[in-house]
Symmetry: C3
Subunit: 452 residues, 3 copies
């Protein structure tokens, strides 16, 4: 009886389209909530856009790497989503969104069977899957040009079965981080932490276990630039990612009845622009060159940073958050290079570091006009709007947990694989390029290319 | 009076937004069905995604072919949709969706004039057009690198004016196949048969009439690999197709009030992933190389196969159907090569063979939880769910008719053209590449390329 | 009281979702208009598609230019949207959509602050911004391969802060052109004039101030072809633009309750097809080559031309308008070349000239079945449908004003910059390519390229 009342209430408020279990055809769900279709359409189309980010990552990463590894990067950027799709159906979704067990892990929903054969559950699965796939694909940039394909295959499995969904459960599945007794608990609107910090710090673990590419550091230890083979692909990829992010962030309302989606779209865009502007101007001030690669990374850094706060801030704050991200990404890329970490596409800086910045920025800029997507959720308010330090504390705790969890488990996974079969290709293969040995096909057999 | 009652009924059920004739501004349609906008938005946006598949096909096909024919492939992949748009407006739409004449053909709606100047009819036209364009563009891969542009121009006309719309009428326009007295009649949710088998088997006819490319078969008759000129383009194209397929399949409900769209999206994705996984693992087992091209074809094969059953199956069945497609596409590509058929991009195997598999799979895996998009339609139930062999029989009949119709008419069209003006470019031109002679412009004039 | 009645009325008619001020969370807007979500979803997703056109322009322009300037084109095509985003937030949006001052300019809404912190205002901002970005990016093609990056940076600022928003205010912000006492006033459904003529004529000013590229004209003054470096990128870009145009035109209803969106989508597509067909056939008749570049420009010309009339015409008229555009673009490209104007990608012909044709075509083909998006707006009727010459006059006045405003201010901006710091790169740099000197990074460092 109580359930029916709740359902009717939810339907009337138009807030949750996802209440019926075991409604595979959707007729009962529609009967209970006549305005469900608009929410389904919104979530699905935004999910399609998030899926398309896979193409964006593939283009950015291969653009920033050398032609001799382009086939390999295509293989990796495809297989991670392939693995994610299958593994998330079997395990991942259950760990993340299944019935909560003591705030630590979900424990139902394997294989999408039983009660999960339901339009609302499938919708939720689709949404969470495209996010899991994004987390997985971020890593490929950090470990590019030297990781064996087999290791990438297995690592994708580990991220989408374990690392991503369990942490995701803590924040989005009703787990312990979401219930921290500070501010509104740890909040992460669209996944600066859950997706990007996770991906970035697993990538950091990978690149540390692998070591730098041949030729990245001189005998004096100084980093050398290894230019990517196509600025055009890198730019195309960035535009695809920017486009996809309009699904990623606004779609995270999981309901079109939250008209706040308009504010989220604007904030997402402004942070991207501010990040790009600051990064290109900063490098220009130093080198007198208009550095396109850095502009693209600045743009992506702005997008990553605004992903957590996008729903809780005003436009001007999005500009500030993006601008700081543009600064951070430049400093971070210089920093990691100078401590001997070789991250070919800047994935650690773009996703890892700016993911953390995004989480913290919620604790500063959230303006208290909006909560979570359900009406009973508390409004989120940061330091600059009189919310005190509580929210900032919750954000800092979550960020620290996120980075440690991702780096720690990532490190163990890469180390274990390295122990058992060696995750790095042979020096000969690395110099010739991974395409020939691992895949048998160069990416561009009709063109004369340098083997630098 | 009866009409008005039906209209009101339909409006209340939110099932058909497409009932008024001669309502060019849409106000009457909206007044009769206040929830029509969500259906229009859903169908249009899905249609835009299907349109975008044109870019995907262009990239996949040119990626899998040589640089010297890239301009030609761009020309073909554009002109087919250009021709489709114009021809479908004049003839095709009327043949497919006009008033039914004895279950064989539609016979009204030329030029979208008269009663067709109506928001609902235009919406239906747009949807059917982007599908027609897809069927047309599939062929270009099979006949790549040797067909004259003029022949391609004319062939596109034949497919979109005759071959596609008439067969389409039989299945989707109320024609005889949809009324077969087995199971729920022959059903094809989003066009494994109507679009993909049609395209694939017309392509088979084309490649047989043309004969293989120079150098494809050695003197001993053994096939040789002719690597495509850009794995990156092929992968980008595959991602675009995968993205577009989320419009193709879920949009085929033609209504957002069918919340089953969530299930369809998930099934579509899982089949793609399973196809890719099986294909790459299979080839790896044989060659110890991670074959990216085959992985991409496996992915597309999974998508083609799940297109017919996507609305009637559970997630696990989508995985099985996709996995079988991944196996089939590998075997089929080897088979055609070994019988001397040269299909440069594997279009026959991906679209033709797996289109048939998709049709048959409905008769096996349809689980009886869902029918067609109107509530009075019967549920679709396959062999494994106690539906008996009726549905399977209907599917087999449809598949046989589809392959014969497409191959037969395609063969006649290509043979006729060949008789009148010769459809194959000269040996000299083929070796130099089609770009210079036919188009006057190499695709990549700033790069040093091999003329292999 | 009157306000409340109006709001309720608007909500009931489902026409305006954008009525509440200072509703940052959206709950009040939703309460006043339960069907607002579908309008928000429609406008946002169409806006995302329009954003994605940035990638399309980037690919088309770089495809039609040489490899040695590809990095530069990527930089320009990104930075214009970056600048547009920031500047439009600070100034542009206020000038365009702020409180009207004597029909000339808007004067409120700076920084999106105050009353503008509202879901409806943010939605409007997002929509207008992606249009402003499109106007800005059109210019980069006309001034390609010789304009300094710094000049491009500043010019983007001028267009998105001043030139575009003020003219936009005259047509779409309640300004004087929209109130011309002829026909329904000057109307421009989705911006043939506001976006494309503005962009095209600023580009014309830029290319005239710059002068032609080295090598474009022989000693005899005859134009020479300078082939672009990638037909594949140009085609991909055209497909992306075509795809994005399905957001651009149908989304300009700003409401999904206008079911006319289906007609607009069909018209948009048919004009593109007709333009492409005419352009390729025309050039074939003259040269016996199937010219892909011209086909792509014909396609874009058709899209530009149909942008103004798309909502007010029938399908056959869209075909005629597109066909004329295909003819016009070919003639126009020849014309400008022969008067010594060097427009590397044909931006002036595609956007400038066909923008004007699009505006005029409204005065000929508008069929009187539809008005503007609010029900009280007058129907638009052209000469061929008995509307007399009034609408045509209003269109001609608007077109003349548009071209003069854009060319005049564009000329001043480029001349001023040229006086102060010189907008053209050095001859040495132009010959070496802009990538090395301005950006320090060639676009394709792994490939052997010609420096032609």
């Amino acid at each position: 009886m109580r359930k029916i009342v709740l359902l009717l209430l939810a339907a009337m408020l138009g807030e949750t389209a996802l209440c019926f279990a075991q409604d595979p055809a959707g007729a009962a769900t529609l009967a209970a909530n006549a305005s469900a279709p608009i929410d389904y359409v919104w979530v699905l189309i935004c999910g399609f856009l998030v899926f398309f980010m896979q193409a964006g990552f593939a283009m950015v990463e291969t653009g920033f790497c050398r032609a001799k590894n382009a086939t390999n990067l295509m293989a990796k950027n495809t297989i991670d989503f392939v693995v994610a799709s299958l593994v998330f159906m079997v395990f991942g979704f259950a760990f993340m969104m299944g019935t909560d067990f003591k705030g630590l892990i979900g424990i139902s929903g394997w294989f999408l069977r039983g009660d999960n054969y339901d339009v609302g559950r499938y919708l939720l699965f689709f949404w969470q899957l495209v996010f899991a796939g994004t987390a997985a694909t971020i890593v490929s940039g950090a470990v590019a040009e030297r990781l064996k394909f087999k290791a990438y295959f297995l690592y994708s499995l580990a991220v989408t079965a374990i690392i991503y969904p369990i942490y995701g459960h803590w924040v989005w599945g009703g787990g312990w981080l979401s219930k921290l007794p500070f501010g509104a608990g740890h909040v992460d609107f669209a996944g600066s932490g859950v997706v990007h910090t996770i991906g970035g710090f697993v990538g950091l673990a990978g690149t540390i276990v692998l070591g730098p590419r041949f030729g990245k550091f001189g005998k004096d230890g100084k980093p050398k630039a290894i230019p990517g083979h196509s600025i055009v692909l890198a730019t195309l990829g960035t535009f695809i990612l920017w486009f996809g992010w309009f699904g990623f962030n606004p779609g995270s309302t999981f309901s079109a009845h939250q008209l706040r989606i308009a504010v989220i779209a604007v904030n997402t865009n402004l942070a991207a622009a501010a990040g790009a502007a600051v990064a290109i101007l900063l490098v220009f001030a130093k080198t007198k060159k208009w550095d396109v690669g850095m502009m693209l990374n600045g743009c992506l850094a702005g997008l990553v940073a605004v992903t957590a706060p996008c729903a809780w801030i005003e436009a001007w704050a999005a500009v500030v958050i993006g601008a700081v991200a543009g600064l951070l990404v430049v400093l971070s890329i210089y920093f990691w290079e100078n401590v001997g970490v070789d991250d070919p596409v800047g994935a650690v800086s773009v996703h890892g570091i700016n993911g953390i910045w995004g989480l913290l920025s919620v604790g500063l800029f959230a303006d208290g006009t909006y909560g979570l997507c359900t009406s009973e959720a508390p409004l989120v308010k940061g330091l600059f709007y009189g919310g005190g330090a509580g929210q900032l504390a919750a954000q800092a705790i979550g960020a620290a947990v996120c980075a440690c969890w991702a780096f720690g488990l990532g490190f163990i996974v890469f180390k274990l694989m390295d122990k058992y079969f060696g995750i790095r290709v042979s020096p000969h293969e690395e110099i010739k390029g991974l395409d020939l040995q691992e895949h048998g096909t160069p990416a561009y057999p009709n063109f004369y290319t340098f083997n630098n």
